[in-house]
Amino acid sequence: MPLVACFLLSGFVVWWYLFLNRHLCLFYREQSQMFLFSREYFWQYLEQPGGITAYAASFLTQFFYYPVAGAGIYLLIFLGLYRIFKQVLNEFSLFGRSFIATLIPGMLFLPASINLQFDLADELSVIFALSGFILLTKMIRNRFYYVFVPLAISVFYILVGGNVALILILFIFYPFVKQQKDAWKQIPAAILSLSIPAALWYFFYLTSFKDTCTALTPFRYPDAHWADGRMIAWLSIIVVPVAGMLLKNVKAGRKWMLSCNIGLILILPVTVLKLYSPDTGNIVKMGYDAENGNWESMIHTGKETSVGPLNCFYTNLALQETGQLAEKMFCYDQIGTPGLILDMQDNFSCQAKSELFYRLGLVNEAQHYAYESMVGYASVKEPNVRNLKRLLECAVIRQDSALSAKYEKILDKTLFYKDYAKRRGAKYPPAIVMKDMFIRDMSVALASILEDNPGNQAVFEYLMAYYLLEREYEKAKSCYDRYFPNFSYPRIPVHYAEFLMLYKRINKLDDSFYALYPVSRDIRERFEMMDILVSSEMDRQIQKALEEGYKDTYWFYVRFPLVSVQTVKQDEKNIY
């Protein structure tokens, strides 16, 4: 039975990492670091408590380059945690007949791992900490006991950082549960053990006291809270034994235990799946697809993801790259210009912005945001492969040969990105020709670029999208008039036609307007229908009708924007 359950759950773990969360847990994690075989790299890890484990985790994470290897590593860690936790429970003589309880922490680490801020070292350090506890229980109580225990705790502090707290808590509980004589003597030994880590903090680890105490634990993350997956998984290491102690005296028959075990086997994966939220993984996947030009996949993923700036941003990018921005942009949820250009929020959004600017040919900006993504946030543990690749590309386009050579040399020191520049080939998007400026307002910058590059369709469409999202009708109209004839659109794209209808209505223009702007009959009729609905002043019904028939139009966005549009003041002209 345990073997079968383990086998089934192992399959579940592999499926979880290899198929369900492949991009977040494997691709993103692997790209968010850069393991180097150098002395300097090793030493930088040693400068923090738990550095050796973090180094080992970093070493293992580089193999996520091959997803199968990554899933295998996660599986080994899952089984390792299961094995060591089982031994811990055995030491406490707990859950002897409910082996499934031993799988709880390992299973809870699955949803914990789909957080962008999770690190493999978090789980690995728990395994090492539990091993430390097992080792302590094997120590013989002789006259050197009070020397060996603090020494062992110090060694484990260096190894697992703040997770040494797990060792200490279990170590204090242990003699009480085992009803050993002089159980209270364990407490001074444990307290004494804290002195050496404290000394190490003061003299060796040059970090704040809080960082030193919380190293490699979920408490180190600024965004962690008690209901966080990482926290739940970590606390389960303590909670499960405590629950076992409380349930120890409950007598249950064989059949009852069997049903409990089966119930747990079913409940655990269901709980894990309940805790699973695909949004972050989907966003990471869209980022991956953007780098690899999988535009259709991006659009598809966007549909399955909750509305947010990153989702809108990537969807719009994919629509532009596939020539659909002017045709289908409003068929997807739009949240205003933050979903088009994106605000700087974290390293992830910086990377995404860099992608957009790179695609548009704004190389300095692409470099700016790639750099910001790499070094500008404390959550980024080290310069990473993903940003460095982009910086290398920018340096090549900027013809900074010395700088690109430097980045190349660094990538050459990695295991899997040797000769990256050669393998990548010589296809780089050209830098756009533009006047030098300080970009403070993106619409101003795009307008200026378009002035210098009147045939650049991507910039034109982005600028039009910007104006439409901001409901800057006059600017949109003048941009359309000035640049639209430069491009070979077979007809007026749907959203531009929708905008033109709106413009005509706002400015109360007559039908001679159609001579200049040949909007299709279909769109004209739809607009007229909508206009009647809007003018009928039956709000609820209007909304319903619009939702049913007009959700994919620009008019619907204007009438019911998901976010307030800030730049344009409402006046009598902006009837919608």
Binding site: L36, S38, R39, E40, Y202, L206, T207, S208, D211, M344, L362, N364, E365, Q367, H368, Y371, E372, M374, V375, G376, Y377, A378, V380, P383, D400, A402, L403, A405, K406, K409, I410, K413, A431, I432, V433, M434, K435, D436, M437, F438, I439, R440, A445
Partner: protein, 496 residues
């Protein structure tokens, strides 16, 4: 038993001797060689430089991978050989002895490479050992040359006689705050200050072991204290107060533009813990910045430009160099400014004036425009002869990239400056000799134990400053001060 023992001995001998012979043959010492009249492309390039007699070993890479090499170091009658692969890592004791015994003499490095045909000797790398020592330490900030945000950073001290680098303060200890503008009074490690920004902001002052955290923001100034210079007497510190912003070029070889939209000067009196200023150095129609004291403490130099709307006119802003009198006894500022240099007339802007300890020379930065030349690729170092007012480019020091922040050694024989010449982005410290005739010599890169260290290092060396000894203030003591409350400085009346 005895027979068995003998057999074992014989077996050991039979095995050991060939092994030892094999080892010896594999590390064959060079006996014969062929000489070629070619220079080896070593990194860093240490040829034709002048080095201080107390500098750390100048380890270098031979420019080829996986090749056995030998370097013979010869100075006077002393010499030693170093066998290695790829990188020449010099034994520190032998190096120190060689330099100590041969000040003022020429040092020749004879490189040999073991090629398929045998040992080949390349052209000597020659350098001169100066008699004058260099300050034993430099202090700098290590930070990624980023744009708006920062990650990990710290101020470090590096022993120039060895490779020891120790942190003075790290932002990992101070909740990720920014720290900058470390400054010393005449390179004295016991008189130091630095600023902390963002979390726990304030100016950390170490005045002969007395630590204090100051809040230098007063209502009369546009910001808290920024660019500092200690008065040589140690009592006063001149600061600029700058309303600084950053902007990013969208299509320019220079990536970042750091500019002031307002700036003035003020002087902090460490005895009265108050700040004072004067209309000549604090005016609304001009931007005054980058203070510098003359070695006698009787003159205050500073850069100043007419105030313009920023950043709209960022490329037309050009600073000139001025001087005002200062009375260290009374703390009075004179009532007229002297124009020392007007590079704006030739389309240049001046920054970072640094006067030599003997007061005869000044090194300044000149670039095409703007306040902060560190990001300007055209920025170069120039030497000003204070007495004659003659300005000449320090051609020996300059490169195609930005060569900027510079500091004089205590004896005035050495200068350290930061340069982006290696890759255009990451600043590295370079050291150059300044001889008694007032000439600079070819600079050399700060030596590292691993000569290829800089290749993989993704941080910049900011504001390298010579320090005449080790900064003994404990890092935890500094952390406590940073985390503590700041004392507000009193604004004294303008000192007219």
């Amino acid at each position: 038993m005895c027979k068995q023992s003998n057999r074992m001995k014989r077996t050991y001998t039979e095995i050991l001797i060939p092994v030892v012979l094999l080892c010896i043959s594999s590390c064959v010492r060079m006996q014969q060689y062929a000489a070629v009249d070619e220079s080896l492309n070593t990194f860093p390039d240490y040829s034709d430089i002048i080095i201080p007699p107390n500098i750390a070993p100048l380890n270098f890479h031979i420019g080829r991978d996986r090749q056995e090499c030998m370097a013979r170091f010869v100075a006077g009658r002393d010499s030693f050989d170093v066998y290695c692969r790829n990188s020449v890592v010099i034994p520190i004791r032998k190096w120190k002895k060689l330099l100590k015994d041969n000040p003022g003499k020429r040092l020749a490095i004879r490189p040999f490479i073991r090629e398929a045909s045998g040992w080949v000797k390349y052209r000597d790398i020659t350098l001169d050992i100066a008699s004058e020592a260099i300050d034993p330490y430099i202090a700098y900030r290590l930070i990624e040359p980023g744009y708006e945000f920062w990650g990990k950073m710290g101020i470090y001290q590096r022993c120039l006689e060895t490779f020891d680098e120790t942190p003075v303060l790290l932002n990992t200890m101070t909740d990720g705050s920014c720290m900058n503008c470390h400054s010393f009074c005449k390179n004295d490690p016991r008189k130091m200050l630095l600023h902390v920004r963002a979390a726990h902001s304030g100016t950390i002052l170490n005045n002969s072991g007395q630590l204090a955290k100051l809040d230098t923001q007063t209502p009369d100034h546009v910001s808290a204290a920024v660019y500092p210079r200690w008065h040589p007497g140690g009592r006063y510190i001149a600061f600029s107060t700058n309303k600084t912003s950053q902007a990013f070029h969208s299509a320019n070889h220079n990536l970042v533009e750091v500019y002031d939209s307002a700036s003035d000067l003020m002087i902090y009196d460490t005895e009265t813990q108050s700040v004072f200023t004067h209309p000549l150095i604090h005016s609304s129609d001009r931007f005054e910045t980058f203070p510098e004291w003359s070695p006698d403490g009787k003159s205050l130099y500073f850069c100043s430009a007419p105030a313009v709307e920023m950043p709209d006119h960022y490329d037309s802003l050009r600073y000139d160099l001025f001087r005002v009198d200062f009375d260290p006894q009374t703390g009075k500022i004179g009532n007229r400014t002297d124009t020392v240099l007007q590079p704006s007339k030739t389309g240049k802007s001046i920054a970072f004036p640094r006067i030599s300890p003997d007061g005869r020379h000044m090194v300044v930065c000149l670039s095409g425009y703007g306040t902060f030349p560190v990001w300007h690729r055209d920025n170069d170092l120039y030497l000003l002869h204070v007495e004659t007012g003659g300005l000449t480019p320090a051609s020996e020091l300059n490169s195609a990239e930005s060569d900027s922040y510079h500091s004089w050694s205590t004896n005035g024989r050495w200068i350290v400056f930061s340069s982006r010449r290696m890759d255009g982005l990451y600043t590295r410290p370079y050291i150059a000799c300044f001889d008694s005739c007032g000439r600079f010599h070819k600079p050399f890169l700060l030596p590292q134990k691993n000569p290829l260290f800089y290749d993989g290092f993704l941080k910049s060396y900011n504001v390298p400053e010579f320090v005449s000894g080790r900064i003994e203030t404990g890092i935890r003591a500094l952390e406590r001060i940073v985390r503590g409350d700041a004392t507000g400085v009193r604004a004294a009346k303008n000192n007219q």
